[in-house]
């Protein structure tokens, strides 16, 4: 029974593997469990699809943010201006 429970994971667990997988941090066993779960769970299939879509969108090279070091510099300058 316990082996079955290890292979057939619950939905929250499957979602956790799916999230991990988006950052390429899921192990092979995690991926196997996830895909097994996706075979019979429709809700998680939908979540997985959406999650993948989100990752793809954000991977888009046009999605940028200012590097943290530059932000610190901006804060520093702003603080200086404020104290003037």
């Amino acid at each position: 029974m316990s082996i079955l429970k290890k292979i057939f994971v619950s939905c929250p667990e499957a979602n956790h593997f799916c999230d991990k997988n988006q950052y390429k941090e899921a192990s092979l066993l995690d991926k196997i469990k996830l895909n097994l779960h996706l075979i019979y769970c429709r809700a998680c299939r939908k979540y997985s699809a959406n999650n993948g879509k989100l990752t793809k969108l954000i991977k888009n090279p046009k999605v940028k943010s200012i590097p943290i070091s530059d932000k610190e510099l901006m804060k520093e300058l702003l603080r200086k201006k404020m104290s003037e």
Partner: protein, 184 residues
């Protein structure tokens, strides 16, 4: 109507990425965009007493940013003659003898549309990130866009890794919903 208050200390954390993406769509150069955002913060600081509290902080900053972008274009166009459009007749050996008409953009080229869409996508995503709770937004940005290691983020925020994954999960669910609504 509730009155909004300005808090310059939180500007960089809260709005710099959104303003940056707003600018980069319009000027197409990261360095210039960064400078313009910085100038916007300075200008905001200077005219804080003119803020009536009717608009939200972000709307107010955006309206300053727009002026700054216009100023930028004025500046680069101020040298006489730069505003003029000059097209030389092509003298490359390959295209020699082609007429101007043959050099206009291809109206059936679909990449133009998708390029514009890609630029606006950055804005849409940052807009959605701003709607997340502050801590979620910060962690999601670090993990997903800036690509930090799980461990580094855990140390930074002093949380456990399972804690981090829960936050990421909530953020992703909210983001997916927000983008679904505003983008597709």
């Amino acid at each position: 109507m509730s009155t909004n208050i300005l808090d310059p200390n939180s500007w960089v954390d809260k709005y710099s990425d959104y303003l940056f993406n707003y600018t980069i769509v319009r000027v197409d150069d990261a360095e210039i965009a960064k400078d313009i955002v910085q100038e916007t913060f300075f200008a905001g600081l200077k005219s804080m007493k003119n803020f009536k509290g009717e608009a939200s902080e972000r709307t107010w900053l955006i309206s300053i940013l727009k002026r700054k972008i216009i100023d930028h274009y004025r500046k680069i166009n101020s040298n006489k003659g730069k505003a003029e459009v000059r097209i030389n007749y092509n003298s490359d050996s390959e295209t020699e003898g082609d007429w101007l008409e043959e050099r206009v953009a291809d109206p059936y080229d679909s990449t133009v549309d998708s390029k514009i869409e890609n630029k606006e996508l950055g804005l849409a995503i940052h807009n959605c990130i701003q709607k997340l709770p502050e801590k979620q937004a910060a962690i999601f940005k670090m993990k997903t866009i800036d690509g930090f290691e799980t461990e580094a983020i855990c140390n930074e925020f002093d949380i456990t890794s399972s804690n981090l994954w829960v936050i990421i999960h909530r953020a992703r669910t909210a983001m997916a919903e927000c983008i679904e609504k505003n983008w597709f």
